[in-house]
């Protein structure tokens, strides 16, 4: 033990004899280790973000939505999901735990002289829970509202603010398509996000008005007339989207197939689509793993380069210190003492590099924030153009990357130190002593 401590002391001493050279060698390992940690953290950050996005859609959900075909395909007939589809799905697919039909329209909302254009969402009581909307005042749509096809509505925060700037809107009436609806509740503001809309584009809930879907069907009907300058167009669609919750996560993919087939039976047009968050999540997981593997390989390459740096320096050192090796051999060093000395030196270099690299790796969150701010400051337009996922990337330290990177650096130090060390030990003591 004492011998080892002494060996380490000695090697630190001789490494400090050439601080610049040792420093540069350490730098090679530092970059390797830090980049392992950094790249894995960046990969993890991107992966987690994508996963969160998909998971927020609900891993047990299947989203069937209406896709509007081109207008010459449709003509004047209706398109998309129908009430019949909904009834058949609920009746024939046993693994469906719950199915929520939603109908979304653009509408104008009025209260006295105030009015605004927003989304009219015909939905069921479960809608608030599924989309993570929080109640602010009053209540959400109830089953009784649904059954009674009542003219009740619930306002999103901004919708309430626009029609009732003075505040309390509960119990007041608003006008939708020439009919009056009583406001029974107001929701809290919700940040726009990737939502239950089925598409992964951000969905804005701020200008919504929620009514029972049965009321919407009865009062407003399936037909919407869209007028544009010079033309007008009728849109006939019964259901915009059905969100299905499957009873068991393991049966999601199977159920998705059944749902697709069931709906397809009655549709000649390609006017519906399925989104399966679980499938997306699994794809994202695969992508994440491939990404990590890819980044890990890049980092591994940089570690190997660092290791070659160590080997290079150690070989140069062996040549340069041939005389010293001769002296040590003359004074009684065995071959293995020389091997050990040089191995310890290369390992010390790589361990120091590894420790610094870990410190560098730990700083990646702060540094990447700084870097992002700097880029936003100097290249604002280019940064704007980048996709959200890249622009707002937040590296997530992967805990196992630290021991991994560190042990790789130690292994690199040993592996790349072996050859120079053996070469040093193989020197003939007499020749080495004569070497100046």
């Amino acid at each position: 033990m004492a011998t080892w401590i002494r060996t380490i002391q000695l090697s630190v001493k001789s490494l400090l004899l050439h601080p610049l050279r040792s420093g540069l060698t350490v730098l090679g390992i530092f970059i390797g280790v830090a980049s392992v940690i950094w790249l894995l953290a960046i990969g993890e950050g991107i992966g987690q973000k994508a996963q969160q996005q998909y998971a927020s859609l609900g891993v047990q959900n299947i989203i069937v939505r209406t896709i509007k075909p081109s207008s010459d395909e449709v003509g004047d007939a209706g398109y998309g999901l129908t009430r019949n589809d909904f009834v058949r799905l609920v009746a024939t697919v046993p693994t469906i735990e719950e199915a929520l039909p939603i109908r979304v329209l653009s509408q104008e909302f009025r209260h006295k002289t105030r009015h605004f254009e927003g989304r009219l969402v015909g939905c069921t009581p479960q809608y608030a829970e599924v989309t993570a909307l929080k109640q602010d005042f009053g209540r959400f749509i109830s089953d009784a509202d649904l059954d009674g096809e009542r003219n009740y509505c619930v306002l999103a925060a901004e919708s309430s603010g626009r029609l009732f700037p003075s505040g309390n809107s509960l119990g007041k009436q608003i006008m939708i398509d020439d009919e009056f609806y009583v406001v029974v509740g107001v929701m809290k503001p919700r940040a726009p996000s990737a939502g239950i809309g089925g598409s992964l584009a951000a969905e804005d809930f701020s200008r919504d008005v929620y009514v029972p879907i049965t009321t919407l069907w009865r009062r407003i009907g399936d037909m919407v007339v869209v007028t544009k300058p010079g033309t007008f167009q009728r849109d006939i669609n019964e259901i915009s989207q059905i969100t299905i919750r499957v009873d068991d996560r393991d049966r999601v993919l199977q159920t998705a197939d059944i749902v697709r087939n069931t709906v397809a039976q009655e549709h000649t047009l390609a006017d519906f689509g399925l989104t399966v968050p679980l499938e997306l999540l699994q794809q994202a997981e695969t992508t994440r793993l491939m990404f990590m593997l890819f980044l890990g390989m890049i980092a591994a390459i940089s570690l190997v380069v660092g290791g070659i740096g160590i080997m290079n320096i150690m070989l140069a050192t062996v040549t340069e210190r041939t005389h010293e090796i001769g002296i040590r051999r003359a004074l009684g060093a065995k071959r293995r003492d020389i091997t050990r000395q040089f191995l310890v030196e290369s390992t010390v270099l790589s361990i120091v590099g590894g420790l610094l690299g870990i410190l560098g790796g730990l700083s990646c969150r702060h540094l990447s924030l700084l870097l992002r701010r700097a880029l936003e400051h100097w290249f604002p337009t280019q940064m704007e153009a980048l996709p959200d996922l890249v622009r707002t990337i937040e590296p997530q330290l992967v805990s196992w990357s630290i021991p991994l990177a560190f042990s790789i650096s130690v292994v690199v130090g040993v592996v790349f130190g072996v050859y120079p060390a053996l070469r040093a030990a193989r020197l003939d003591p007499i020749e080495a002593l004569r070497h100046e």
């Binding site: 004492a2 011998t3 002494r6 000695l10 001493k13 001789s14 004899l17 005389h323 010293e324 001769g326 002296i327 040590r328 051999r329 003359a330 004074l331 009684g332 060093a333 065995k334 071959r335 293995r336 003492d337 003591p429 007499i430 002593l433």
Partner: protein, 231 residues
């Protein structure tokens, strides 16, 4: 017949051949002599006489082609590489012409090196290193680096280092070759003093002045002993 323990070393019919460019060079041919404990020997001879070869064999840096080299009761000529290293670390004290101190280490650490390789580095041994440094007059400079010392001082460190393992003999290779005459006589005095204290010393030199200080001179020529005379 005296027992082997009265000899620091015994050399019987030592041969050493080298193969150089396909030709065999007989560097040593049938060299025999005894080194009684407490002796002070100089080995002389022109270059090419086999002086360096003999030095390497005596220093256990090399093995003879034939013959025996008894160190105490062990025949070193049969030793393995590791055993030779062990022997160098524990039973031979080296002094070189160019001092051969390790530049990264301080005076006291340089003296410790043979202990380190023989695994005997303990607090008592450390204290002994300081005593030895004191003895050669370097007590106040224990923490200096070799580069901060004069040639004579460096050679004193080397002498202290050669003593640290309490060797059977000290092997000095041109110990004064790099020194001026004043320092030379100081170093020779130190060696004479060590010999007077009972140390066995073998000096390889080509300087007759140095050889005169010893009790016995062996002259080599063409790999053979030309003369072996006691003063």
């Amino acid at each position: 017949m005296p027992t082997t323990s009265t000899f620091a070393a015994q050399i019987h019919h030592l041969y050493k051949d080298y193969v150089l460019g396909g030709e065999t060079v007989h560097a040593l041919r049938d060299v025999s002599f005894d080194v009684p404990l407490g002796d002070y020997i100089s080995i002389m001879g022109p270059s090419g006489s086999g002086k360096s070869t003999l030095l390497n064999l005596l220093g256990c840096l090399d093995r003879p082609t034939a013959g025996n080299f008894l160190l105490g009761e062990d025949d070193v000529s049969q030793f393995s590489d590791d055993e030779l290293a062990e022997t160098r670390a524990t039973r031979i004290g080296f002094i070189f012409q160019s001092y051969n101190l390790l530049p990264a280490l301080s005076v006291v650490e340089n003296i410790e090196v043979p202990l380190y390789y023989s695994g005997r580095l303990n607090p008592a041994a450390r204290a002994r290193c300081r005593e030895l440094a004191d003895m050669v007059g370097l007590g106040p400079r224990l923490e200096h680096r070799p580069s901060q010392l004069s040639g004579g001082q460096q050679q004193r460190v080397a002498i202290a280092r050669s003593l640290v393992n309490d060797p059977r003999f000290i092997l000095a290779d041109e110990p004064t070759g790099n020194l001026d005459s004043k320092t030379t006589s100081e170093i020779l005095e130190l060696l004479a003093r060590l010999n007077a204290e009972g140390r066995t010393i073998i000096i390889v030199t080509h300087e007759p002045d140095v050889a005169e200080q010893t009790q016995r001179t062996i002259v080599l020529r063409d790999g053979q002993i030309l003369s072996d005379e006691r003063r």
